[in-house]
């Protein structure tokens, strides 16, 4: 099992959800987050007082997938979330030790 963490542009949220649904991925957790990578923020000016707003709103997807489906899901997210500009986001993948379905105690891939 792998955990995928994808941080994407908020306006790509619906596109990514739709693309994942089309390939049969229907479990995910979404959080509104703020952050920045190489993308510069923007400047706001209130009565001459300048503020650099460098923490920008992003959306974070978290999902756990079978190892066999990993590449397919990563490709789907990458293409759906891409606008080609700086600020499109990043995807991180890590190992997951265990998964449990709280309702009935299923473990491992059966719990996904």
């Amino acid at each position: 099992m792998k955990k995928i963490e994808a941080i994407i542009q908020p306006f790509k949220l619906e596109d990514v959800k739709e693309a994942l649904k089309n390939i049969g991925v229907d479990g995910m957790t979404i959080t509104e987050v703020r952050g920045h990578g190489r993308q510069k923020g923007h400047k706001e000016v209130y009565r001459g007082q300048e503020y650099n707003v460098d923490l920008l709103p992003k959306v974070k997807f978290e999902m756990i997938v079978n190892d066999t489906r990993l590449d397919e899901v990563l490709d789907t997210i990458t293409s759906a979330a891409r606008s080609g500009k700086i600020g499109d986001g990043k995807i991180f993948v890590c190992e997951v030790g265990e998964a449990i379905r709280i309702r009935n105690g299923d473990r491992g891939e059966a719990a996904l």
Partner: protein, 480 residues
């Protein structure tokens, strides 16, 4: 049918009772025309008819003037709540929105009581050149009869309630400087003392009979302040600066971003201020007259010009024209035209507004950061600076072509454009007195309040926000 009560009794006697009073006038007029046509009036005493006609004309003017003045009073109250409350409330951070709105709202209650008990008397009854007397204490004798010294065509009660609204908004304006860090109890005590020490004396000097600076009623230094440039804006603006210096900076200023939490609220508030200002300035004609129209026009033009020039200045300076810039400019223009509104022609009004927009932008965007004081919502930069500019420019552009109110029975040259260059000096003296009174008075009051109650909230309370720590509530319970 309150207006029915002021119909001339002579006319009312001609129709039977039981007819709805709004039809009585119509019936009376028709009956009068019929009577004239049939010559029935030919036998009536011409002197009695003339007297009846005069009384009817007087009562009609009184009805018109009173209607406008009551509406104006309501408009000026609307400037404080919700106008100023929204304007300032939107400019602070979310955690301080209620406390900031409270700073405006509480004036509507607190100053009203003070004004009724003593304030009106201390401003408008005769006393010394510096402060009024006690004749109208507890509003004694202030009722339906006009006070002919000030406004001969409206009940003194109307004049009193109209002037009250000015006393309410003035300390409210100061709150822009101490927002986000003052203790509520200290704010209430400060306001109570401030109106006695600064506002009442200044208002008496400029508008009260026998006041030192009163141009029409026996002042020795004649200054023109149509609707409160010195009395309202300079006193509040300069006192605001003193408050900002005394209280010190907000925690985190200027390193942490302290952004307005809702410019939507501020925009609504500023637009309400703009509309309410018609009551403030045009109402200061104290009647539904041509002078009221002139003041209305000047007010609107100045606001529009200042909104444009402030936005243009920041467009050049920061690269973008902003909503906050637009509304700040409009308020700056309204402030600057206040003393001049009933004295200047439309084109000078545009010019005063245009200058005010750039000048006040420079004050808040440049001068404030040069000196580093934390005037949270720019009460000094807009009201102090704009008020001073307006007071001086009134001395330049005031003309008897707009305001032919007579001094000692004759029409005189008013400002520089009328050939009276000396008026600029008088205006400057008026400004100087307002500044000194505001600085000294405010400083002493702050000291007293600080000793008795402490002016500032604790650092932890300030970080948590005044809404929770001072009032035990929050402006936005979005999960509720």
């Amino acid at each position: 049918m309150a207006t029915g009560k002021c119909c001339a009794p002579e006319r009312r006697g001609t129709v039977s009772t039981g007819v709805p009073s709004r039809y009585k006038r119509v019936i009376a007029i028709v009956a009068g025309l019929l009577a004239m046509a049939t010559g029935a009036y030919a036998q009536a005493d011409p002197a009695a008819r003339l007297a009846a006609l005069e009384a009817a004309a007087k009562s009609a003017q009184s009805a018109g003037d009173n209607a406008w003045m009551l509406v104006s009073a309501a408009l000026v109250l609307m400037m404080t709540g919700p106008g100023l409350a929204l304007f300032y409330g939107g400019l602070v951070r979310r955690k301080n929105v209620l406390s900031t709105m409270m700073h405006s709202f509480i004036m509507m209650a607190l100053v009203t009581v003070i004004w009724a008990i003593a304030g009106y008397s201390l401003v408008f009854s005769e006393g010394s050149p510096f402060i009024g007397g006690l004749k109208y204490l507890f509003l004694d004798g202030v009722g339906k009869e006009p006070n002919t010294d000030y406004a001969a065509t409206i009940p003194q009660g109307t004049f009193m309630i109209y002037q009250m609204m000015f006393a309410i908004i003035t300390p409210g304006l100061i709150s822009g400087a101490y927002a986000e860090r003052i203790k509520f109890s200290a704010m209430a005590l400060f306001t109570t003392l401030w109106v006695f020490v600064v506002y009442f004396p200044m208002a008496h000097m400029v508008w009260g009979k026998g006041g030192l600076l009163n141009a029409y009623l026996g002042g020795s230094i004649r200054t023109f302040d149509f609707a409160g440039g010195t009395v309202v804006h300079i006193t509040s603006g300069v006192s605001a600066l003193v408050c900002a210096l005394y209280l010190g900076k907000r925690v985190g200023f200027p390193k942490e971003p302290i952004k307005p939490h809702s410019l939507v609220l501020s925009t609504i508030g500023a637009c309400l201020l703009w509309v309410g200002w018609f009551g403030f300035n045009a109402g200061s004609a104290l009647g539904a007259s041509g002078l009221a129209t002139a003041a209305f026009v000047a007010t609107h033009l100045a606001a529009a010009a200042a909104a444009l020039t402030w936005m243009a200045a920041e467009w050049l300076h920061s690269g973008k024209p902003s909503m906050l810039g637009g509304i700040s400019g409009a308020v700056a223009g309204l402030v600057a035209i206040t003393p001049a509104s009933g004295f200047v022609k439309p084109m000078p009004a545009l010019l005063i507004g245009a200058i005010a927009g750039v000048f006040c932008f420079w004050m808040v965007a440049k001068v404030k950061s040069m000196f580093g004081y934390d005037d949270s919502l720019d009460a000094f930069g807009v009201h102090g600076a704009g008020g001073t500019l307006g007071a001086i420019l009134t001395g330049v552009f005031a003309t008897n072509a707009i305001n032919d109110t007579q001094i000692d029975g004759k029409v005189v040259a008013l400002g520089l454009v009328d050939g009276n260059a000396g008026q600029i000096l008088n205006q400057a003296i008026g400004v100087g007195i307002a500044v000194v009174l505001a600085v000294v008075g405010t400083w002493i009051i702050l000291k007293i309040c600080d000793v008795l109650l402490g002016m500032r909230v604790d650092r932890d309370d300030e970080i948590q926000g005044l809404d929770v720590t001072q009032h035990g509530e929050e402006g936005y319970n979005l999960e509720a």
